[in-house]
C-alpha cells in the first residue's frame, strides 16, 4: 500500500543537448522531494517526466516497482500535477473551474465540497466571479484548491509558490508538510526557501 515513485538512470536530451544524465531517485510515502537547480537545468522537464507526460527519455521510471508504460492509468489516478500555468479558465468562475477538474477525474463532486475547498484557500466571496477578474495570485489559489478537493497520493508541483502572498506561502507549506505526514508524497520545484522540515529532501540539477 506504500507509495513509491522511482527513477533509474534517467536521462533526457533536448535539441541535441543532455539536460541531465544518470539520474537515480526514489520518492516514498511521507517524503517531500525538492528539485533544485538554476534556470534551464531541466527542473520542469524532470517534473513532467515524473508526471508521466513525456515519452522520449532514456532510463526507466517505476510506479510501485512496475514500469510506467504498464501502469499509466493507475499512476495518473494517483497523481496531481500543477504546472507553470494554473490551468484556470478566465471565462469560468472558480466554482465552475473546480467542477470541471472534478469531472475530469470522473467525479461529480458536490457544490459544498467545492465551496469549502475555495474557503480553505481564502477565496470566500469570489466563488462566482469569472476567474479572469481575479488576480494572478488568486487564480493560482483556485488551482491550489484542487489539492484539497481531489485526494491524490502524489503531488507534483512546479513552482507552486509563484504569485502567492506571504500568508498563502506559509499555509501552502503547512499543507505540503501535512500531506507528507499523512503518508502522501510531494515533488516540488521552487526558488522559495522552504522552512526546514525533516521530511524534505533535495536533489540538485545542473
Amino acid at each position: 500500500m506504500s507509495l513509491c515513485l522511482e527513477a533509474r538512470q534517467l536521462a533526457c536530451e533536448r535539441e541535441g543537448r543532455w539536460l541531465f544524465e544518470g539520474l537515480d531517485l526514489v520518492v516514498r510515502s511521507g517524503e517531500i522531494l525538492r528539485v533544485e537547480g538554476p534556470n534551464g537545468s531541466g527542473k520542469t522537464t524532470l517534473l513532467k517526466l515524473l508526471a508521466g507526460q513525456l515519452s522520449d527519455y532514456h532510463g526507466e521510471l517505476f510506479w510501485k516497482g512496475v514500469p510506467f508504460g504498464k501502469v499509466r492509468e493507475q499512476f495518473v489516478a494517483n497523481l496531481l500535477y500543477l504546472g507553470h500555468s494554473p490551468g484556470i479558465k478566465a471565462g469560468l468562475s472558480p466554482l465552475e473551474n473546480l467542477a470541471w477538474y472534478q469531472a475530469l477525474c470522473g467525479e461529480r463532486g458536490s457544490e459544498a465540497q467545492r465551496l469549502s475547498a475555495l474557503e480553505q484557500v481564502g477565496l470566500e466571496g469570489f466563488e462566482d466571479v469569472p476567474a479572469g477578474q481575479l488576480s494572478a495570485g488568486q487564480q493560482r489559489r483556485v488551482a491550489l484548491a484542487r489539492l484539497t478537493l481531489t485526494r491524490r497520493a502524489l503531488w507534483v508541483l512546479d513552482e507552486p509558490f509563484t504569485a502567492i502572498d506571504r500568508q498563502g506561502v506559509a499555509a501552502l507549506e503547512a499543507q505540503l508538510a501535512a500531506h507528507a505526514a499523512a503518508g502522501g508524497s510531494v515533488v516540488v520545484t521552487t526558488h522559495h526557501a522552504l522552512s526546514a522540515s525533516s521530511a524534505v529532501r533535495c536533489i540538485q540539477l545542473g
Binding site: 533536448r14 535539441e15 541535441g16 543537448r17 522520449d56
Partner: protein, 246 residues
C-alpha cells in the same frame, strides 16, 4: 530482425553503411537515366497522334510516379520514427519532403508544357493534374509545419503526424477528384490514360522510371548523411570523424 532495425537506426552505423551503398545507387541512377533519355528522345518512335511532343512523357510520368511514392516513403519513415523513435527515419523524412515537392512540381510543370500542344492551353483542370496540385499543397504543408516549430523535436513529430494523416487522405482525395472530373468533363482526352503503347515506347519509359527511383534513393542517402552530421554535430563520433578528415 530487431538488431537489424536498431543497427540501421543508429546514425553512426547508417552513416558508415550508406557510404558504401551510395556510389552504387548513383551509378545505377546515372546509367538508367542516360540510357532512358537517349532511347526515349532519340530512338523511340513518334506518336501517331501527338508527334514528337509525346516525348515529354519520359519526364512527366517518372516525376509523377515519384511524387506519389516519395510521399508514401515519407509517411512510412514518419511511422517508423513515431513507433520506434528511430531518429534516422525522421532525418530521412526531413530530406524527402523537399525532394517530393520538387518532383511534384516537375510533374505539374511538364504536364502544363505538354498541355500546350495537346489541349492548346497551359492549364486544364484535368483529374491527374488537379490531384497533383493538391499533392503539392500537402508537401508544402508538411515542410511549412516542420519549419514553424521552435523546437526541432516538436517539428519532427508534428510533421510525422501530418505526413501520416496526409497519406491516409491521398487515396480519398484522388478518388474524389476523379469522380468530380468525370461528372464535369466526361469526354475530355486525358494525357496519360491511352491505348496500349508499343514496346519500343514503354521500355524506355520503364527505364526512366527505374532511373528516377535510383536517383531518389541515392539523393536521399546523400542528404540524410548530411542531415545526420548537422544534427549530431556535438556527438563524439562526428567530432572524431572531422578530426580524421583534417
Amino acid at each position: 530482425m530487431w538488431t537489424f532495425i536498431h543497427k540501421w537506426g543508429s546514425p553512426k552505423w547508417f552513416y558508415a553503411m550508406s557510404a558504401r551503398l551510395q556510389p552504387w545507387c548513383w551509378a545505377a541512377a546515372l546509367m538508367l537515366i542516360a540510357l532512358g533519355t537517349v532511347w526515349g528522345l532519340g530512338f523511340a518512335p513518334a506518336d501517331y497522334q501527338q508527334g514528337n511532343s509525346f516525348r515529354i512523357i519520359y519526364v512527366h510520368v517518372p516525376a509523377a510516379f515519384l511524387a506519389q511514392s516519395v510521399f508514401v516513403s515519407m509517411a512510412a519513415a514518419s511511422l517508423v520514427f513515431m513507433v520506434w523513435k528511430i531518429k534516422v527515419a525522421d532525418m530521412a523524412a526531413t530530406v524527402m519532403a523537399p525532394f517530393g515537392a520538387v518532383m511534384t512540381f516537375v510533374a505539374l510543370f511538364s504536364g502544363a508544357v505538354w498541355g500546350v500542344p495537346t489541349w492548346g492551353t497551359w492549364w486544364m483542370w484535368d483529374a491527374r493534374l488537379t490531384s497533383m496540385l493538391i499533392l503539392l499543397f500537402l508537401y508544402l504543408g508538411v515542410i511549412a509545419l516542420r519549419g514553424a516549430f521552435a523546437s526541432r523535436d516538436g517539428g519532427s513529430k508534428a510533421a510525422s503526424v501530418l505526413a501520416m494523416v496526409g497519406v491516409i487522405n491521398i487515396p480519398i482525395i484522388k478518388y474524389s477528384v476523379d469522380w468530380w472530373f468525370t461528372l464535369h468533363q466526361p469526354s475530355t482526352f486525358s494525357v496519360t490514360s491511352r491505348p496500349a503503347m508499343p514496346v519500343e515506347m514503354w521500355l524506355p519509359l520503364l527505364i526512366m522510371v527505374l532511373g528516377f527511383y535510383c536517383f531518389f534513393i541515392a539523393l536521399t542517402l546523400m542528404r540524410t548523411r548530411s542531415e545526420i552530421l548537422r544534427r549530431e554535430i556535438n556527438k563524439r563520433w562526428v567530432i572524431d570523424l572531422a578530426r580524421e578528415m583534417r
